[in-house]
Structures are given as C-alpha cells and as structure tokens.
C-alpha cells in the first residue's frame, strides 16, 4: 500500500467528494434541468378526506390559454394505465387474502384522502396550469371520513391484513408463571419524512423512448414501475437521477404523480415537469410510522424476560402500499426481541385503511417502532423491580458466544457484542455521575432525567445482490457505476475509498456514477443496504479489474503473472525495475479500458447495534425539554469513513429526537383534514437542538461475518436508538417526581404543552 494514497482508503475520514459541487450550488438536481419546450404540470387535489366524485367538468379548463392537456382518472383508465396496488401473501383475520384499495393514478369514482390527485393540467407555464386547475369543476358527495384506528378496526372493510407470530399458549404459560408482568399502551405517531428536496419529475419523449428524470432512491424500480403502470414497451423508459436532496425512504417507491407526469409527456409530446411544493409532499408523499401497540413483558424474579406479547395496529392509509404493510406486519417484528434472549413471543399485527395518506418507508421503517416498544418495556420493568435499567438490560442480553443467534422470529444475527457496547456507553455517559448532575439541575430549578436504549436493527431489505461495473480507463481514470443511489448520505465517497483500497491510486482518479437505468439494474438505496451490498461488489469488482490488469501486464511485459507485484497503480516484475502502469495496460486494450461487470452476493443482512444514552432537562414552568447530553456507542462493524458514519448516526439521532419531542402528522379526527401540512404546524428539529454534549463513538471490533468488508448498515441506527433513549429519559425525570404512573404512559411527541399538563396533573 502506497502510504500517500492510503490516506484516502477505507477507515479514513475522507471529505465527501460530492460536497464541493453541492456547496458551490453546482449540484444537478432534477429541478435544475429545464429542456427546451418544457411544459409544466399541476395537480388538482382532493379537498376532502372521503367523497364520491359525481362529475368532473374540464371544459372550461381546457379552453384557457396555454393549456396543453387536462388529464383525469378516466382518461388514464381509458388509456390502459394500471392502478397502484398492494399484493403480499398476508391474510386477513378470517383467512381471506389481503385487501387494499387500489389507487388509480388520478382518482376515479371516489377520493379517499385530502391531497389525493384528482386531475392534472399541463400548460406552457405553471401559472397557466394552476389557473386551469382552478377552472376544473368537480362535484363531490362527501362521505364520512375515518382517520382514527380505534374506529377503523371496527370495520372489516378497513382491515387490510393481519399477521400472527409465536406461540400464544407458551406465552400464556410464561405470563401465568411470571414474577413480574409489565404492560404499556403506546403509539408511534405518524411522521412526515420531509427531505430538503421535495419530489420532482421531468419526463421528456426522445424518439420512441421516454427519458424520465426524477428524485428517487431507486432508479431501476422507478423505470420498471413506470413501464408496468403505463403498459410501455420494456426498454422504452430510461430513468436518470441526478443529485437527490434527501430521501429517508420517502423516495423509494414510485408515486402516482410520477406516472402521470410520464403519461403527460407522451400525451403532449413535450418535456413535462412537476415539482411538488412542500405542502404537496406533506399531503401526498408517504408518511412513516403510525402504529398503536399494546405490549406486555413477563419477567422472572431476577429480571429475566420470559415472554413478550405485542398487539399492534398500523394505520397504513387510504391506499396501502406493499412497503407500508410489510414494514409493520413483518419487518418491524423481526427485531421486536432486539438484543435480548427472548424466545417466547406472541405477536399480532393488524394493518388498517383510513382516510389518510398512505404510509411507507421512513428512516428505520418498522425497527424504530419495534425497538421503542421493548425499550419502553425494559424501563417500566426496571422501575417496577427497583433495578438499574442498564442492569436489567444486561441480564437479558444475548452473549457473543450465542452467535450466530436465531431470534424468535427466525432471524439470524451473525455477530454482536452487546454488553461490550453497553459497558462503553455507560462509561462514556458517566452513568455513575448522574445523581450529581440531577442534583445540580434541581438546584437550577430543572428536572433532569436519564434514559438508555440498547438495541439492534436489521438492514438490507433482503436484497443481498448487487451488480456494479468498474472501468479502468486508458486516460487515467477509474469509473465505478452502481445502481444504488447517492442522496446526501455520501455513499459515493465510501465506494471510492473501497476502490482506493484495491487500486492503490489517488482518490481523485476514481469517479463513481449513479442513477442511469440504462447502465444497470439493481434494487437501489434503501434499508441501510448500499455499503454492505454494493460496497462489497465494488471491492470485489475492483479486485477483478486488478487481476485482469495483472494478466494483461504479464502479457505486455512477457513475464509470468506470478512474477508481478502491484503497488500504487503499477505492476512491477519482482526484484527488477521493469514495470507498467495499470492505466497504460488499459490504454493498450482494444476499447482502451479494462472493464469488469460483476455481481456480488453477500450472505445475509447486517445487524448494527448500539447503546444510546440521553439526558434531558425539563423546564417545569413551560414543559420544554432540553437535550442535555446524548452519548452513543455504535457497532457498525468495520467503518469505511468514520466521518460519514458518525454523521449518519448523529443526524439519524437528531431525527429520532425530532420524533420524540416535536413531530406529528395530525389529521382532524372528525373531518380528516390534515392540521400539520406545513412547517408552520409540523415541528421539525432544528440545528440548534444539537448540543456540544453530543458524543458519537464507534466500536469496530465486531465485524459483520456475512459480507467481505465486515461492514454493517448504518443509515438508520441513530434514528432507532434516539427515540426510546429520549422518552426513557423523560420518563425517568417524571418518575423522580413521584409520577411513575405517568412515566409508564408517556406518549410522543413530548411537546411542551403535553409535558406541562403531565407535570401539573
């Protein structure tokens, strides 16, 4: 390894290669493209949560100047466009197959949530399109709206599916024999992902093909879904994705709007752009979470957990999506027992349709919900038993010697040293010094609380295969193409570092390319999978490129392959000064490059984990919560770029704190009108929530055993740990005020008003 280049290899905090352009405003976001002749699309959306559509009159709109097309749901159905549907092998409680209302790309017959797209206008300008949309007359017959799960669950027509796991009889027996039973009834509220860049699509016909630029995490999926929904010829759609201003899961699946834009471009033979406003994203992009759970844990006299019982209801919205259903009915439950050795479970999860926006993937997707439940239960149990909450957790942790460990849901953890994370976390957070800090806070008139969460998560979307291409070019550059997607998480830089590890050349030589569906097909970036799947593939493909280079170099130098050493981009005959550079070798090839197209499959998901400890101070007069310190020790396996990984964890944790303290998507229970559809009412955590007492540590001593890099996914870890750590801290503060009962029933978000009411009551 050349020492100079090694500074940019893996393990180093290399600055992100994409940042210079992004910071200089030179990013290439979809909105930055404005091809000649671009027309604008505007959606007329439902003002009602539930109504029958009696008629839609578009005549006046069509007659307005500048209008190129007015499209309704009926037009799309007539053209053969398919609705968005959910199809999964889950059943309803009576054994009938899953039922999910299909969503026609534009509403037909009825609207089922406020913001559902009803008609689309394409015009020369956005203002003309909006004018025309206002001229469309829709006659609605309003119907009662249901947004509350307690009501939805009463109506079999709103039950989407139910899953049951475990052994109910064994659980009953464990509960009957338990020394302690603790119970919580908690909600994990609905959240709006709200990435910095809202959705945006630009579709342009080019010959027989359609070129679709959009802000997405999944280029290939977007292409395939467009082809499918619009019945297009395979190969007729090319999806291009430039810079993406955040995804957080919200940009994984295609939206009806995306397909309508593509349809409109073909119908008008013009490039057509739609850029969602922030409000449109609040109304009609997928939301995350929204589950209500009743959970019970049985423990023996020593605090060993004997069984876990969870009954969950999930509000998956008006038009359930596969992801929205699977996240709550399958994926979350995979980690419900977390890092604890609990083999007896009794789970039941029911998905419900309501008159709200569909739910889907949102950072953590199911795991935050599951971990929140067990971590709240652990704290309630520790308080009940008078045990240190860290000690109770320790007594239940799976030991390293039990790896690989199969949990009660049949999921296999390859590695994990949970107690080691706990011990470091306790030390870093000065667990023992807490009483003194609490006393100091009390002297300042503040209530201090301390919370802990020890947990793991599953990553990878079970899409374990990735194809990448690596081209060593005669001009001195190395080009890596991946079908995963960069969206602000810095994955391109990490891939480049992995390539530097193998090629031993300066990082500037490496270009990582994303987002062109013509160049390769793959799952995309979701579920914290990119590094361990595609990163492994980059590493393997780079190795193959060097191997191929070595053979070609041996030919060029007329020596045996085994006689060649490789260092710093150069093959040298051992013990001589005869050498040839890898780029020189590439230049000699017929196409002027060494090209590797390689698919790598890893052997399993990864199980990153950690110990997060949060201390809060509460202003008892206003109910405001201040995060006094936040310390985390994280096992993300081997770390390719510590700066990026720490950033992912810290940023993720801030997002989790956001859920705990601020965020909630609220619908009026009577009318189904959203009450928090802008940042005026949807409270996001802001930069000033981050404090100096914010420490993120990485323990790299437990590499993942199922991928060649030993890395574990890290994109969602922070979000998962922060929420329970903070709520547990607030619960602790309440319990110290003699309000343990309230501590057990705390509900997010812990707004000042809610905290004040609890402290007053």
């Amino acid at each position: 390894m050349n020492m100079e280049f090694g500074r940019f290899g893996s393990g180093k905090a290399v600055k992100r290669m994409e940042d210079a352009a992004l910071l200089a405003g030179e990013g290439q976001f979809t909105g930055d493209f404005a091809p000649e002749g671009q027309a604008h699309l505007y959606f007329l959306r439902s003002p009602h949560a539930h109504a029958r559509i009696l008629s839609i009159d578009t005549a006046a709109a069509r007659a307005l100047p500048g209008v190129l097309a007015v499209i309704t749901g009926a037009d799309l159905v007539a053209a053969g466009a398919k609705p968005m549907t959910a199809a999964l092998p889950f059943k309803r409680p009576d054994g009938a197959p899953l039922q999910a209302e299909p969503q026609t790309l534009l509403a037909t017959g009825a609207v089922r949530f406020v913001g559902e797209p009803v008609a689309a206008v394409v015009a020369e300008t956005l203002a003309a399109a909006r004018d025309a949309a206002e001229a469309i007359e829709v006659d609605y017959d309003e119907q009662p709206a249901v947004t509350v799960m307690a009501s939805a669950v009463q109506d079999p027509a709103r039950v989407v599916a139910q899953t049951r796991y475990g052994d109910a009889a064994a659980a009953d027996a464990a509960f009957a024999a338990a020394a302690h039973v603790v119970r919580v009834q908690i909600a994990n509220q609905r959240l709006a992902p709200a990435p910095m860049e809202p959705r945006v699509v630009l579709a342009a016909p080019e010959g027989e093909r359609l070129i679709v630029r959009l802000s997405s995490q999944m280029p290939s999926t977007a292409r395939d879904q467009l082809v499918d929904l619009l019945n297009l010829a395979p190969g007729s759609v090319r999806v291009l994705i430039g810079d993406v201003g955040g995804g957080f899961g919200m940009k994984t699946n295609l939206y009806p709007e995306d397909a309508v834009v593509a349809f409109a471009a073909r119908a008008t033979a013009r490039p057509v752009k739609w850029a969602a406003t922030r409000i449109e994203d609040f109304l009609s992009a997928v939301h995350g979470r929204d589950v209500e759970s009743e959970a019970e844990m049985a423990l023996d006299a020593e605090g060993r957990v004997l069984a876990l019982r969870v009954k969950g209801l999930a509000n998956v919205g008006a038009y359930p999506r596969n992801s929205g259903i699977a996240i709550q009915l399958l994926i979350g439950p995979w980690v419900s027992t977390s890092i604890y050795d609990i083999q007896t479970i009794d789970f039941s999860f029911t998905a419900l349709m309501t008159n709200t926006a569909p739910t889907g993937a949102y950072r953590g997707a199911g795991r935050p919900e599951a971990i929140y439940i067990i971590e709240r239960l652990m704290d309630v149990a520790a308080r009940r038993m008078g045990l240190d909450p860290a000690e109770l957790r320790r007594r239940n942790m799976i030991a390293p010697g039990q790896m690989p460990y199969k949990n009660a849901m049949g999921q296999v953890y390859d590695s994990g040293a949970f107690e080691q994370m706990l011990d470091q976390g306790l030390k870093l957070a000065d667990w023992g010094g807490y009483e003194a800090r609490a006393a100091a806070a009390a002297a300042r008139g503040k209530l201090r609380g301390r919370g802990i969460a020890t947990f793991l998560e599953w990553t990878g979307g079970n899409a374990l295969e990735e194809r990448v291409t690596v081209a060593v070019k005669g001009d001195g550059g190395i080009e890596v193409y991946a079908t995963t997607q960069q969206m602000g998480q810095g994955i391109g830089t990490s891939y480049a570092q992995l390539a530097v590890d193998i090629f031993d050349v300066p990082i500037e030589k490496i270009t990582v390319i994303f987002g062109d569906s013509d160049r390769g097909t793959g799952f995309g970036s979701a579920g914290s999978r990119s590094l361990f799947t595609a990163g492994s593939a980059v590493s393997v493909a780079s190795g193959k490129a060097v191997d191929q280079g070595r053979e070609l170099a041996a030919e060029a130098l007329e020596v045996a392959v085994a006689d060649l050493e490789y260092q710093g981009g150069t093959f040298r005959v051992a013990g001589t000064d005869r050498e040839i550079g890898i780029f020189e070798v590439a230049a000699k090839q017929p196409e002027g490059r060494i090209f590797i197209d390689s698919t790598t499959k890893v052997n399993g998901p990864t199980w990153p984990n950690g110990c997060h400890i949060c201390e809060v101070e509460i202003d008892r007069e206003t109910g405001e919560i201040e995060v006094a310190s936040y310390v985390s020790v994280n096992d993300a396996g081997r770390v390719v770029n510590p700066m990026i990984v720490e950033g992912q964890i810290a940023g993720g944790a801030l997002q989790g704190l956001g859920q705990a303290i601020y965020e909630q998507m609220v619908y009026d229970p009577e009318t189904g009108q959203p009450l928090s559809a802008s940042f005026q009412d949807y409270a996001m955590p802001r930069a000033d929530v981050l404090l100096p007492g914010y420490v993120t540590a990485l323990d790299q001593s437990v590499p993942c055993r199922t991928n060649p890099l030993g890395v574990k996914g890290v994109g969602e870890l922070g979000t998962i740990g922060a929420t329970p750590a903070l709520v547990n801290a607030v619960a602790d503060a309440l319990a110290r005020q003699g309000k343990a009962g309230l501590a057990d029933t705390l509900q997010m978000p812990l707004t000042p008003a809610r905290m004040w009411a609890l402290l007053e009551g």
């Binding site: 909006r130 940042f679 005026q680 409270a683 707004t751 000042p752 008003a753 009411a757």
Partner: protein, 264 residues
C-alpha cells in the same frame, strides 16, 4: 401567484393615492407575510404598492423622550441599532428574536404592526410601551389601534408611516415560541414609564391585549412575585394542536414573570 400590477411610489402621498384609487390594491413592505400568501393564492390583489422606495417611511430617530421608528425599518435594523439599544433595549431584543435571519433582513416593523398577526412579536411592544402609531392621515394611540385578529384601526387607503415609542424607565419581554413555527405561543411585554405600568400579552389570544390585573399588581410592587400568582382566565384564549387554552393561560403568567425579570 395571480398576476398583478406593480407600483413603486416614492412618497407616502403617492402610495396613498394609488391605494385609494384601487380598492383591490395592497401595500407590500418586507413581503414576508404577504408574498407567501400570494404564492399560495390566498390573496388576489390587482396591484401591489411597494413601500420600499419611500424615504419618509425609513429611519430610526430619537426625539426628546420618544423613539420614532419608520414603518419600513427591517427587524435586523431595529435589532442592531445603537439608538434603539440605548433608548429602548427591549425593542432590539425583541427584534433580534423574530423568526430567523432571512425574516429579520426582510420583514419590517410597519408590516408586522399593520398585519397584527395574533402570534407576532411587535404588537406587544406597541401596546406594552404605549406607543403612538403615525399614519398617513393621523396619530392613533396603541390602545385604539389593535382591533382584533389581523385587524387594526387602519383604513384601506391609510398607511402606517412610523411608530412613536415613549422611552420607558424599564421594560422587559419574554415569549414562549411555538415549537413548529417559532412564532409566539404566549408572550408578555411589561413596562414602566411615561405611559404608566403596562402589560401586553401576545400570542395567547386572537389579538394582543393588556392584562389589567397584572398592571395593577406591578404598579403596586414591581417584582416577578407580584405577577406570579395572577392567573389569566383561559376562556378566550387560543387552543390548537400546539397547546390548549389552559396551557397558554399558564404561560401568560410565566412569561409575565420572566418579562419582569428581564426588565431588571
């Protein structure tokens, strides 16, 4: 946004003439309230009368025992003005805590006071300091200016030109921010000076109002303890997803107490 005509007059008289000639014309000052409303098509003026070119509406000056601030003075100017800091520091403090940098660099005192958003900051200063609003045609005492939610004594073709603040002996302000918008959930401006002891409450109700009981208590005993026991009735206070009327009523007392502390 719908189409509108745009005018940029250079005198108050011309601006008033433009507004008088067209009932659907609207003045635009910093635009940080009006422009978002236009973008959402919540407002459809035929023309906008831009006040930024009117010299008479600018400037901060001290005249005897009063501070006169032109309507077209940005929040950032009030925050950083040495004249304001010396005469009425609470105004600089308040201005420095309105919205964010962008808002403070665009929004104006005249726009904020004319708009009379129940959750805005400045109305509490105008009422709480007993200011006098100078308009294009008259002078209106603060007690007669704020009429209700987004409603003031201004006529449609009348412009706020400047605000005259009597310099208080002491004044303090405290507010609880809405967790989402960071506008005022409940705030209190307390002052003692030529206009007597005044307590103005913003954010909590549909319009800024004076809290008479607290004024009496502070007149008798200027201390945080004097207001600590006074409970604001919750009856007419705002209630929304961010907090109940009871919570706001409670905050009124807390903020009044803190405002007295801040007043020193």
């Amino acid at each position: 946004m719908y189409d509108f005509d745009y005018h940029k007059p250079t005198t108050v008289a011309d601006a008033v003439a433009l507004l008088a000639a067209d009932p659907d014309a609207k003045a635009v000052s910093g635009g940080h309230t009006l422009i978002p409303a236009l973008k959402h098509r919540l407002n459809k003026p035929t023309s906008l009368v831009d006040l930024s070119g009117i010299a008479e509406m600018r400037g901060i000056r001290r005249e005897g025992n009063a501070l006169i601030i032109g309507a077209f003075t940005r929040h950032a100017e009030v925050a950083s003005s040495e004249v304001v800091q010396a005469a009425i520091p609470v105004l600089s403090f308040m201005a420095a805590h309105i919205g964010d940098n962008q808002v403070r660099n665009r929004g104006t005192i005249g726009g904020s006071v004319s708009n009379n958003d129940p959750a805005a900051d400045y109305p509490a200063a105008v009422l709480g300091l007993g200011a006098i609003v100078h308009t294009s045609s008259r002078k209106i005492p603060a007690d007669e200016f704020f009429l209700g939610m987004f409603t003031t004594a201004l006529e449609p073709d009348e412009l706020l030109v400047a605000i005259e603040f009597p310099i208080p002996e002491k004044a303090g302000y405290a507010k609880m921010k809405n967790p989402a918008s960071r506008y005022v959930m409940a705030g209190a401006l307390v002052s003692k000076g030529p206009a007597g002891v005044r307590v103005a409450i913003n954010g909590a109700a549909s319009c800024v109002f004076r809290q008479a009981e607290m004024e009496a208590a502070l007149a008798a005993n200027w201390s945080p303890e004097a207001v600590a026991g006074i409970q604001q009735p919750a009856d007419d206070l705002n209630s929304d997803i961010h907090g109940s009327a009871e919570y706001r009523a409670h905050l009124v007392t807390v903020m009044a107490k803190r405002a007295v502390v801040n007043a020193g």
